[in-house]
C-alpha cells in the first residue's frame, strides 16, 4: 500500500457492488424513448400476420372459406390448420405434456381460439383480411365450471384417446387431466379426525391474467439464402424457444437465432409458446419474407396465459390452544381447453405443495385434480413461482379461518406455529427442505412497526361505534406471513421440456480491465444489466460501471432457462458469482507470477491481489487483465474468460411479513388502504433500490388481483373482461404508498446468499389485502368470501351479513 492507493473504503465504494443502490444503466435508453421492443423491429419487406379467432367457446368448425380474404388488397396468404398439417404444425406440444391446436383443427374449445392466420402487407390489410374470412361454426354445449366438467357426458378433447393415461398418469374422466398428490393422506385424515378443533373452508383463487403493458409478439425472418431463421419475440426463455422451434420445424438449432429484445413486462405471460409465434415462423418460411405478429390487448387477455383458477378445499386441525396438527387440501384446478401450464415437467401443480407455508405442520396432504373446460389455456406463474401464490393464499386464509374457529388472535396463532429459527434447514411434511429463515424476528418487527396492539384496540372501538350507528366504516387488519419457494431449480428434479433448469454466465475481461458478461436469463424490467454487474463487481473487483451485461440473444449468450419464478438471482446470479470466482482463481495465478511469489502468497483485497504481509506489493485486476493478454505466463493460457453453468443444490425460500390496514365503507363497498407495511427477507440484498421497486410493483399487482382484477366468463364462455375497461389495472389514483422494511437471512447454499424477491410481494400481498377485507367483517361473522373484492362484492358481503339494516 502506498500513498497513491485509495482507501479500502473508497475502493469498495468505487465498485458499486453488492448492497449498493446503484442507479440503473437501462434507464438512459428507456427514458429517451430508445428502448427496442419487438414492435420496434422493422425489416425491409416485412409482412404482418393477424388471427381470425373463434367467437364461440365450443363449436365444430364446419368450413373455412378464404376466397374473399385473398381478394383483399394487400393480403398474401391465409393459413389454416390444413396448411399446417403437412408440416405437422397444426398442433404443438405444451410445456405441461399436453398438446394444443395452433390453428383450429375441426373444432374450437375456447372463445378467442386461433382459427386462421392472415398474412398481409401491413397491419390494416391483415385486419381487413381477417374480417373477410368466412368460418362456418356449429355450436356445441359449453362447460365453464370445472366441477360440472367432471360429471358431464360432453367430451371436450375428442383428440385424446378415451381411457388412455395423460402426461401425469391416469385420467379418471374424459375431461380430467391428472390427479397429482403429495403427502400422507391417511395420516393426515387421522390427525384431523382426532383433533380438538378443525376448520374447513373452500378457498377460491379466481382466474386472472398477468397483463404486462406490452402484449406478446414476434418477428420471424427466414433467410432462404443462408438457411438461417431469426426470431425476435417476447420470450422470457429465449433459449428454450430456440430448442422448441428447432424440434418443431426441423431446422437445425445452429440455424435458428432467437432474440428477446427489450421486453415490456412479462410477469409469466411470456413464458409459454403461443400459436402466434408458430404462425409467424411458418408464414416467414412460406413467403420468404419477415413476418410480424403482435397481439392486441383483447387477444392478450382472451388467449395467452391466464393464471390461477384454483378451487382449494381445505381442512386444518389444531389443539384447543392453537397448535396446528394437520393440513388437508384438495384442489380442483381449471386448466382450460389445453393443459398449457408453465411448470417444471414433474410438477403439474407447480410447487403448490409449499402450502404448509411458514408453519411447522406435522402432517399434511395435497391432491390436485386438473380439469379441462371451455376456457383459454395457460396456468402461468403470474409474478410467482409455479402456483406458490395459490399456496400462500390458501394457507394464509386457512390460518385466519382457524383463528376464527379457535377464537384466537390471528397474529398469535401464526407466531405459535412458525417454524423456529433453530429448525432450519427444515423439511416440511410435503417434502420441501427450507434453506433458512427467522420468522419470529420478522413477525415481531412487523407487529411492532405498525403498533399491532394499538390497531386491534382501534378496531374494537370502531366495531362498537359502528354498532352504535356512529360510523359506517369498518377497519380491517390484514396479516400475512408467507414463505416462497423460488429459484427452480435443481436439475435432478426440475426441467422444462427436458431441459434441466440450470442457468449460466459467461464472462470476458477485456485487456484494459473492463468486462462483458452474458447470461442465459432475460430481463423484463428487473434491471439485470444493473444488478448482475453488481454481483460481478464484488467478485472480481472491476467497477459495475465497467461491466456490460448482455442477455437474450441465443447466438451470443450461453444456454439458460430464462427469467420467471424469481429464478434469475438464485440461479443465474449464482452462475455469475461462480464464473467470477473462476476469473479470480486465474487472476491469482497471474498476480503471483507478476509479483514473483507463490500462488498461495497472495490474497484478494477488494480489487487486487496483494502479497501477504507486504500490502505495498500488489496487482490490481486491471493490471492482471492486461498481463493476461500481453505476457507469456508459463502454464497459463492467454486471456481472461470464464463460464459457469450453475445447477443449484436446492431452491431458495424468501419470506416476509405484510400488514395491510384497510378502511371499508359498508354502504358503497369502497375501500381505502390506510397503511401497508411490507417486510421482506430475500437473503443478501444486491440493490436495495431495485428491491424496493420490485416490492412496490408486486404489491400493486397483488392489489389489483385481490381487489378487482379477474378473467370472468359468462355461462356460454364469453370473456366478460377482455379490455382494460373491464379488466382492472390500478392507476396511480387507486394505488397507495407502501412502507418497506427488511430482515436479512442469507441462503446458506447460494454463493452470495441471495434468495430472489421479485415475486414475494405478489405472493404475500394478495392474502394481506384479502385478509384485511375478511378481518373487517370478522366481528360480524364473515368466514370466507371470494376474491376479487371489488366494490360490488364487498357491498354484497356487508349486505349478506345484514349490515345494511
Amino acid at each position: 500500500m502506498n500513498d497513491m492507493t485509495p482507501s479500502r473504503e473508497d475502493r469498495v465504494a468505487n465498485l458499486k457492488g453488492l448492497g449498493t443502490s446503484r442507479k440503473r444503466v437501462e434507464d438512459a435508453r428507456f427514458t429517451q424513448g430508445k428502448g427496442n421492443y419487438v414492435d420496434d423491429v422493422k425489416l425491409p419487406g416485412m409482412l404482418f400476420g393477424d388471427f381470425v379467432r373463434s367467437p364461440y367457446a365450443h363449436a365444430r368448425v364446419k368450413a373455412i372459406n378464404t376466397d374473399e380474404a385473398m381478394k383483399v388488397p394487400g393480403v398474401l396468404a391465409v393459413l389454416t390448420a390444413k396448411d399446417l398439417e403437412p408440416l405437422n404444425l397444426h398442433w404443438m406440444p405444451t410445456l405441461a405434456g399436453d398438446k394444443q391446436m395452433v390453428l383450429a383443427d375441426g373444432k374450437v374449445l375456447f372463445q378467442g381460439q386461433e382459427v386462421a392466420f392472415v398474412v398481409a402487407e401491413d397491419r390494416y390489410a391483415a385486419a381487413d383480411g381477417v374480417e373477410a374470412v368466412e368460418v362456418e361454426y356449429e355450436e356445441l354445449p359449453v362447460i365453464t365450471d370445472p366441477f360440472h366438467a367432471l360429471e358431464t357426458d360432453i367430451v371436450l378433447r375428442e383428440d385424446l384417446e378415451a381411457g388412455a393415461d395423460g402426461a401425469h398418469g391416469p385420467r379418471k374422466h374424459h375431461n380430467h387431466i391428472f390427479l397429482w398428490e403429495e403427502g400422507d393422506e391417511a395420516a393426515t385424515e387421522q390427525a384431523i379426525g382426532e383433533a380438538e378443533v378443525v376448520a374447513e373452508e373452500m378457498v377460491y383463487y379466481h382466474r386472472t391474467h398477468p397483463c404486462p403493458l406490452e402484449t406478446c409478439g414476434a418477428v420471424a425472418s427466414m433467410d432462404k439464402v443462408n438457411g438461417k431463421l431469426t426470431v425476435w419475440g417476447t420470450f422470457q426463455a429465449p433459449h428454450v424457444v430456440r430448442t422448441v422451434a428447432s424440434l418443431l420445424s426441423g431446422i437445425e438449432e445452429h440455424n435458428i437465432r432467437v432474440i428477446s429484445p427489450d421486453i415490456g413486462g412479462g410477469f409469466g405471460n411470456k413464458v409459454g409458446v403461443y400459436p402466434g409465434y408458430v404462425c409467424a415462423i411458418v408464414a416467414s418460411i412460406v413467403t420468404g419474407k419477415p413476418v410480424k405478429w403482435i397481439e392486441d390487448r383483447m387477444e392478450n387477455l382472451m388467449s395467452t396465459a391466464f393464471a390461477r383458477d384454483y378451487w382449494m378445499k381445505g381442512k386444518i386441525s389444531a389443539t384447543k390452544d392453537g397448535k396446528i396438527t394437520g393440513l388437508h387440501c384438495h384442489v380442483t384446478a381449471d386448466h382450460g381447453a389445453f393443459d398449457a401450464c408453465a411448470d417444471p415437467t414433474k410438477f403439474p401443480a407447480g410447487f403448490f405443495h409449499i402450502c404448509t407455508g411458514s408453519y411447522d405442520i406435522p402432517v399434511a396432504y395435497v391432491g390436485v385434480d386438473g380439469v379441462y373446460t371451455n376456457k383459454a389455456p395457460g396456468g402461468v406463474a403470474y409474478r410467482c413461482s409455479f402456483r406458490v401464490t395459490e399456496a400462500a393464499y390458501f394457507i394464509e386464509r386457512m390460518i385466519e379461518v382457524l383463528a376464527i374457529e379457535l377464537g384466537m388472535d390471528a397474529a398469535e396463532l401464526r407466531a405459535k406455529n412458525f417454524i423456529k429459527k433453530e429448525q432450519f434447514p427444515y423439511t416440511s411434511a410435503l417434502g420441501w427442505e427450507y434453506d433458512s429463515g427467522d420468522y419470529h424476528t420478522a413477525w415481531d418487527k412487523a407487529l411492532k412497526s405498525v403498533d399491532y396492539e394499538g390497531l386491534r384496540k382501534e378496531q374494537a372501538e370502531r366495531v362498537e361505534a359502528f354498532k352504535r350507528g356512529e360510523t359506517r366504516k369498518l377497519l380491517g387488519i390484514g396479516l400475512t406471513h408467507f414463505t416462497e419457494i423460488v429459484g427452480a431449480g435443481p436439475v435432478k428434479n426440475c426441467d422444462i421440456l427436458g431441459m434441466g433448469m440450470f442457468d449460466s454466465c459467461e464472462i470476458r475481461i477485456h485487456p484494459t480491465g473492463s468486462a462483458i458478461a452474458r447470461l442465459g436469463t432475460i430481463s423484463q424490467g428487473q434491471g439485470h444489466a444493473t444488478t448482475f454487474a453488481q454481483i460481478l463487481a464484488s467478485e472480481i473487483g472491476i467497477s459495475a460501471d465497467s461491466i456490460t451485461i448482455e442477455e437474450g440473444d441465443t447466438d451470443t449468450a450461453p444456454y439458460g432457462l430464462g427469467t420467471y419464478g424469481s429464478r434469475s438471482t438464485p440461479v443465474a446470479g449464482a452462475a455469475t458469482a461462480m464464473a467470477g470466482r473462476k476469473i479470480r482463481a486465474k487472476a491469482q495465478m497471474i498476480a503471483a507470477y507478476l509479483l514473483e511469489v507463490h500462488d498461495d502468497d497472495v490474497e484478494w483485497d477488494v480489487d487486487r491481489f496483494v502479497v501477504k504481509g507486504a500490502p505495498e506489493r500488489f496487482k490490481t485486476m486491471a493490471e492482471i487483465a492486461y498481463a493476461s493478454y500481453n505476457q507469456a505466463i508459463p502454464g497459463v493460457e492467454p486471456g481472461l474468460e470464464a463460464v459457469s453453468y450453475y445447477d443449484p443444490p436446492n431452491m431458495t425460500y424468501p419470506f416476509g411479513a405484510y400488514i395491510c390496514v384497510m378502511e371499508i365503507d359498508v354502504d358503497t363497498g369502497e375501500h381505502e388502504i390506510r397503511q401497508f407495511y411490507a417486510l421482506d427477507d430475500c437473503g443478501t440484498r444486491i440493490n436495495p433500490m431495485v428491491i424496493e421497486g420490485q416490492v412496490h410493483g408486486g404489491l400493486t399487482e397483488a392489489l389489483a388481483i385481490a381487489m378487482g382484477q379477474e378473467i370472468a366468463y359468462d355461462e356460454i364462455g364469453n370473456v366478460k373482461t377482455g379490455t382494460l375497461m373491464d379488466f382492472f389495472l390500478p392507476t396511480s389514483w387507486e394505488t397507495p404508498n407502501y412502507t418497506t422494511d427488511h430482515t436479512e437471512t442469507p441462503s446458506p447454499h447460494h454463493p452470495i446468499g441471495a434468495k430472489g424477491v421479485g415475486e414475494s410481494p405478489n405472493v404475500g400481498g394478495v392474502p394481506a389485502f384479502s385478509n384485511a377485507v375478511h378481518d373487517a367483517f370478522r366481528a360480524f361473522g364473515l368466514r370466507q368470501s371470494h376474491m376479487p373484492h371489488d366494490h360490488w362484492r364487498i357491498w354484497k358481503t356487508a349486505h349478506d351479513l345484514g349490515l345494511h339494516g
Binding site: 390494416y124 403493458l213 421497486g693 404489491l699
Partner: protein, 163 residues
C-alpha cells in the same frame, strides 16, 4: 384506399406525408416516421403508453386518426431532451427509480411534462390524479410520483434562480 395529404410538426421538424384516412396517429408516428418512443399498450385509450403532446395537450395517439392531427404540433418523448441534455423529468425518473421495464415510460414522462406545465407546483394528490390516465404494471407508481415531485421541485428552483 385513397391517401390523404397531411402536414405535421413532430419534435420541431416539419413533416409532409400521405396517410390512409383510417390510419391511427400512433401508427403514422411509429411506422412512417420511425418515432418509436410512444408505444401501443391497449388501443382503447386506457393505458397511456402512446401518450404524445399535441398543441399543448396530452393526447393518446392510439385513438386519434392521423388526418385529425393535420397541421398539429406534436411533441413525443424524443423531443423532450437530448442525450447530452436530458430533460429534468428524464433525469428524475432515473434518479428515483421511476421505471422498470420502460414500456410505459415515454408516455408517462410525456404526460408528466404536460402536467407540470399545467400545474408547476402540484401536491402528491394532484400528481396522482393528473397521472391516472397512464398505467404502469411494474413500479406501483410510488417512485413515479416521487420522480415527478422531485422534477417539479427542481424545475421550480431553476425558475426561481433565473428570476
Amino acid at each position: 384506399m385513397a391517401k390523404t395529404h397531411i402536414t405535421l410538426t413532430v419534435n420541431g421538424e416539419a413533416k409532409e406525408l400521405l396517410v390512409d384516412p383510417r390510419e391511427l396517429l400512433i401508427h403514422t408516428l411509429r411506422e412512417q416516421l420511425d418515432v418509436t418512443g410512444p408505444h401501443i399498450g391497449c388501443e382503447t385509450s386506457h393505458c397511456g403508453a402512446c401518450t404524445v403532446d399535441i398543441d399543448g395537450k396530452s393526447v393518446k395517439s392510439c385513438t386519434l386518426f392521423s388526418v385529425q392531427a393535420n397541421g398539429a404540433d406534436i411533441t413525443t418523448i424524443e423531443g423532450l431532451g437530448t442525450p447530452d441534455e436530458l430533460h429534468v423529468l428524464q433525469q428524475a425518473f432515473r434518479e428515483h427509480h421511476g421505471l422498470q421495464c420502460g414500456y410505459c415510460t415515454p408516455g408517462m414522462i410525456t404526460r408528466a411534462h404536460r402536467l407540470l406545465q399545467e400545474n408547476p407546483n402540484p401536491t402528491e394528490e394532484e400528481v396522482r390524479f393528473g397521472m391516472a390516465g397512464n398505467l404502469c404494471r411494474c413500479t406501483g407508481y410510488q417512485n413515479i410520483v416521487k420522480s415527478i415531485m422531485a422534477a417539479a421541485a427542481e424545475m421550480n428552483a431553476a425558475q426561481e434562480a433565473a428570476e
